[in-house]
């Protein structure tokens, strides 16, 4: 199967095709392990190929071969060199090899490097070189930028805002990390702003500066001191005094990011499979997006078993074959010129396997009905037998999603 060749550039409504064509930012989110990264890459590839314009896919943690396909790993510069923050253009040649023609637009890809993005942020907001270097040297900063899971969420939103504000791209497709709580990234900018403006932080840094512990902050100090020790408390305070020099910039940005997320030019794709747990998480996710007045554009249901597994007539034939495998197997062996005993076992296995998958397919159909609630678009992608590891695979997947 190759993707459809050049087609009319006017996308249809009620499809992912139409949805993506009318947006500037597409955020792919959903539970872990459902093919979110691949779906995001396929969406971007399709948009660049069919719609045109400059399209960027910003991924979090692509599989190695997908990263290769997107040119995010470059063996020539050493094993890690390609895994970078910098945006790279996918050569048109990759599209020509996969689909026989050049894309209408340009496809760019970048991977989010949390540490590097934090450093950029500090460089931008630090009041002077001295403050910047002291922040870089602070062990707490290194901890936060490198390991802090929530900082990953924040930095993804921050980077998205930055890229959008530059106006370099017509469409940005963002892949999100499977958060512990799937919606952390939505709250990250607000939480970061809250944090920097918190009364607690002001108490701490103010009293640290003056070395006078006032009465109001005493209970906090008693607890924090006993748990953490004065030295560590001092380290924390010093770090936040440094960070407060960037306070205004941070809060302003966080608010801008929040506005961008709720802008009508931004839409969300919830990606899920039809397994019970992902479906429950995806449902929750969709409901939360709606509750927050964010644009739930589409639900993409991935890895769906073929519909013929639910076919009643086929299931009856399978039962017939299972129950009569001995007789049917012998007669089939005659027809095919194969060994009778082997053919009987093959018949039994075929029937059993079909009925087994039928159970799963019916469960999936029920799950899908539950998911089809509020999105503008429900896109269903069949189970692919092979992993998607190249542009041809991305476009094949994308063609299914496009509708």
């Amino acid at each position: 199967m190759t993707p459809r060749p050049a087609r009319t550039s006017r996308p249809r409504e009620g499809t992912l095709d139409g949805l993506v064509a009318s947006k500037e930012i597409v955020i792919a989110c959903g539970p872990g392990g459902v093919g979110k990264t691949t779906a995001a890459a396929a969406t971007a590839a399709m948009a660049a190929f069919h719609h045109g314009g400059r399209v960027l896919v910003l991924t979090i943690d692509p599989a190695r071969r997908l990263a290769d396909a997107l040119g995010l790993r470059d063996g020539a510069d050493g094993p890690e060199a390609g895994l970078g923050n910098a945006e790279r253009r996918i050569p048109d040649e990759v599209f020509r090899a996969a689909a026989g023609r050049s894309p209408r637009g340009e496809l760019w890809a970048a991977m989010l490097d949390t540490k590097e993005s934090w450093d950029q942020l500090v460089r931008r907001h630090a009041p002077d070189a001295l403050a910047r270097d002291r922040i870089f040297a602070n062990p707490l900063y290194r901890n936060i930028s490198g390991r802090f899971v929530q900082s990953h969420d924040y930095i993804a939103m921050e980077r998205l805002y930055d890229l959008h504000a530059q106006g370099t791209y017509d469409l940005i497709v963002l892949d999100t990390a499977p958060s512990r709580s799937a919606l952390d990234f939505l709250d990250a900018p607000a939480r970061m702003a809250d944090f920097f403006s918190s009364r607690l932080l002001r108490w701490l840094t103010a009293s640290y500066r003056s070395r006078v512990v006032n009465l109001a902050s005493r209970p906090f100090y008693q607890v924090a001191d006993r748990i953490l020790g004065t030295q560590f408390l001092g380290d924390i305070a010093e770090f936040f005094i440094l960070f407060q020099s960037m306070y205004a910039g941070f809060v302003e940005r966080a608010e801008a990011v929040t506005r961008l997320l709720s802008d009508r030019r931004t839409t969300f794709l919830v990606v899920s499979t039809l397994e019970a747990t992902p479906v429950r998480e995806a449902e929750y996710f969709a409901a939360e997006l709606v509750a927050r007045d964010l644009h739930l554009g589409a639900i993409v249901v991935n890895k769906v078993l073929p519909g013929y597994f639910r076919d009643r007539e086929a299931a009856q034939l399978a039962e017939h074959l299972r129950d009569g495998a001995a007789d049917l197997g012998t007669r089939l062996a005659d027809a095919l010129g194969t060994d009778a005993a082997l053919t009987e076992r093959v018949c039994a296995e075929i029937a059993e396997s079909f009925l087994n998958f039928g159970v799963v397919a019916r469960r999936e159909a029920e799950q899908q009905a539950e998911l089809a609630t509020s999105p503008e678009v429900l896109a269903t992608v069949p189970f692919f037998e092979d992993d998607i590891v190249d542009m041809e695979g991305l476009l094949r997947l994308g063609a299914m999603m496009w509708g």
Partner: protein, 356 residues
């Protein structure tokens, strides 16, 4: 009170059989069935007479649902014979800790305390994690249970959870938290007591993440990897000779249609899909086995070099070089839904894999 099988009982260096651990962290990439495997482990251990505490670290309520029970809280509840389930809550953990260790007047300080915790957790990654790990280690030390099974954080996050005591040791030099990390490290580093179970499926990303996890666990934490569980392994439809027959049938499906008196196309196509799914998964399984074997060799080398402070403390805490990791295979369940029935099926399959 405590069981005879004590955490510190000498066991000639070898890690014990999986169920003889006192504390098992079950991790895995999202979607691999980590919670299901944790539930199955808990049920299997309980069916063998152990008193089990099953703890869910992410408060999703899935663990209790796998026992057909209502969501649990920090206090926990018996969800199956011999299995008590609880949900981690770092704030409750801190409260319990303060009550036990400090006799701190908790009731009067809840407001500032909660905010202080938020503040501290945001400022210093590792604090939230250590309250989680601390509670689990505490339950091991108290010995009210023979085995604590943890439905732990996903692969991306579990390393920082397990490495939290060391991270705290590096950042904090005095204070109560610091003074508490030593006994936690002792429990976590004892491979006869504590083990990590990595759940994966035979697919590309889960296998990649598992191999990355194995490497990181060995270099960044003191915890031993006890087993890799490969979940959702598809059955093999055909042996070699049967496959030749099936190829004949694929070439002429109408022969079967004629016998059945209906279109056999979907049946043959369905079997073909099952065969090719199984085949592509077999390749990932092979990659997993090779990667795990290579990791065993690699980690021996690293142990000798002892590069980072964390790694050197890991090495000194570890009595022996790592054993080849045990790989356990669990079948794909063609089930209607997930619940007690699938938990029981997986527990049985796990028991068979463990030779019980």
């Amino acid at each position: 009170m405590g069981p005879e099988r004590a955490a510190g009982a000498p066991h000639a260096g070898r890690p014990p059989p999986l169920l003889d651990h006192r504390l098992l962290f079950v991790t895995g990439k999202g979607g691999t069935g980590k919670t299901t495997v944790a539930a199955a482990l808990a049920q299997l251990a309980a069916s063998r007479g152990k008193r089990v505490l099953a703890c869910e670290v992410d408060a999703k309520g899935d663990l209790a649902a796998l026992f057909e029970a209502a969501p649990t809280d920090f206090a926990g509840r018996e969800v199956a014979p011999g299995v008590r389930a609880m949900t981690m809550d770092t704030e409750a953990s801190l409260r319990e800790y303060l009550k036990l260790q400090l006799r701190f007047p908790v009731a009067t300080r809840l407001g500032p305390l909660a905010r202080a915790l938020d503040f501290v957790a945001a400022a210093a990654p590792g604090v939230r994690e250590i309250l989680t790990v601390g509670k689990l280690c505490y339950e091991v030390r108290e010995r009210a249970y023979d085995l604590v099974v943890v439905d732990a954080a996903a692969t991306g996050h579990v390393v920082s959870q397990l490495a939290a005591p060391q991270a705290i040791n590096e950042l904090v030099r005095v204070g109560l938290i610091r003074s508490q990390t030593d006994w936690m490290l002792e429990i976590l580093s004892d491979h006869r007591c504590t083990g990590l179970v990595a759940v994966t499926t035979p697919e590309e990303m889960p296998v990649n993440e598992t191999l990355e996890l194995v490497a990181r666990v060995r270099t960044e934490t003191t915890v031993g990897l006890s087993a890799v569980v490969v979940n959702r392994v598809l059955p093999e439809l055909f042996g070699h000779h049967e496959e030749a027959v099936f190829d004949e049938l694929c070439a002429r499906p109408e022969a079967l249609s004629a016998l059945l008196g209906g279109d056999a196309g979907p049946l043959v196509e369905g079997a073909r899909l099952a065969v090719s799914m199984r085949r592509s998964r077999a390749e990932h399984l092979q990659r997993l086995r090779e990667g795990l074997a290579a990791a065993d060799v690699g980690s021996d080398r690293r142990d000798g070099a002892a590069a980072s402070p964390a790694a050197s403390s890991a090495t000194s805490a570890r009595a022996t070089p790592p054993e080849p990791v045990q790989v356990l295979y669990l079948p794909y369940l063609f089930a209607r839904a997930h619940g007690l029935r699938s938990t029981t099926q997986l527990a049985r399959a796990l028991g068979e894999e463990l030779g019980l």
